[in-house]
Symmetry: C2
Subunit: 202 residues, 2 copies
């Protein structure tokens, strides 16, 4: 049995022994002969997997009344792994979701690092800086690089901290954001943990 | 005498009687025969005005040690108009600057409405929503439109409110952001007020 978390750019597999990624553009899913429990936010891949009986879409088994219809299934699975906490999934988008006593309380979506960087660049070449993750968020900036870094990071930090809950960081940029959310627990396998829990509980 | 605030897209003039805008691409500055005190964040326009003796660049008279070298001169002028407060200039970028007892304390830059909207769209077509400025920021969202609206607006709101100062809103989207910052004072002429004060004090 394999678990697979399919995003816009890659298939992310978890086997009993390791985890590995395959490019969405080049990987042929029909080559996999094992049973695969998967989630996907990629509509094209989703459609292509419908004819492969060993690929089982977890989404069809989720009680969506706990969440909302257009919510990404990766967010739902990360939430399944947590009883109490605020989950930050830092990928191409940053999703922030709150769960209290086993109940999903809502969440929001913030641009990921690359998207936000592009956003500043597109406004003006004068704002084309990399973000400074070593910035002191207690001090209002007096230089351009910190002015955009603070704009991106302190605003998010301020809102997340206001919930006063344990913070769990996951996603490709989790370790980078751990420099800002210093007390957060980083768990790169949170989505897989949620998928496992969901399958066993079902 | 005229005042002029030159941005990336337009010349914004203030005369004794009214204010009006001219497109950067088509307007010929040499046609103006009055004395014009101007600020500009547009490097191309800046260069073209150097040979017109009736166009006087206010920037050259600013004591920049009060601010920082790469800071937009429009932010400096808005700050000149305020003794105490947090200024939100909502344009193509949103600049947020704090002044206490006449002293600039620092500020940050956040993407403007259009840039942030593009940013979400570029991540995924599933995030291609307009922002909802009537959102209840006290409630974590449970739908996609509010999830991005909250991500854009509540994060900014949270950080701005943490300073516990009078909020002054200016810029092209000031009235829209006044729906979020309900106690803010909207002052569309803040930059011109700063320019006037600066010229008379000089």
């Amino acid at each position: 049995m394999l678990l697979c978390d399919i995003g816009n750019t890659s298939y992310h597999f978890l086997s009993r022994y390791d985890s590995f990624k395959k490019d969405v553009k080049s990987f042929d899913a029909s080559e996999v002969k094992h049973k695969v429990y998967y989630i996907s936010v990629n509509k094209d891949v989703d459609a292509s997997l419908k004819n492969l009986p060993n690929w089982i879409d977890i989404k069809t088994y989720i009680d969506k009344t706990k969440y909302y219809e257009t919510m990404g299934v990766d967010r739902m699975m990360a939430l399944e792994a947590v009883e109490n906490g605020i989950i930050i999934d830092a990928g191409s988008a940053i999703t922030v979701d709150v769960k209290r006593d086993g109940v999903f309380c809502g969440g929001f979506i913030y641009p990921g690092l690359k998207a936000m960087n592009e956003s500043y660049k597109n406004i003006s070449s004068a704002l084309a800086y990399e973000f400074n993750f070593d910035i002191d968020l207690q001090m209002l900036p007096k230089n351009s690089q910190d002015a955009i870094s603070y704009g991106y990071l302190k605003t998010l930090y301020c809102e997340v901290m206001s919930h006063k809950m344990e913070i769990i960081l996951t996603g490709g940029d989790a370790n980078l954001f751990a420099k800002i959310f210093k007390d957060a627990r980083v768990d790169e396998d949170l989505v897989f943990k949620g998928m496992k829990k969901f399958i066993y509980d079902f």
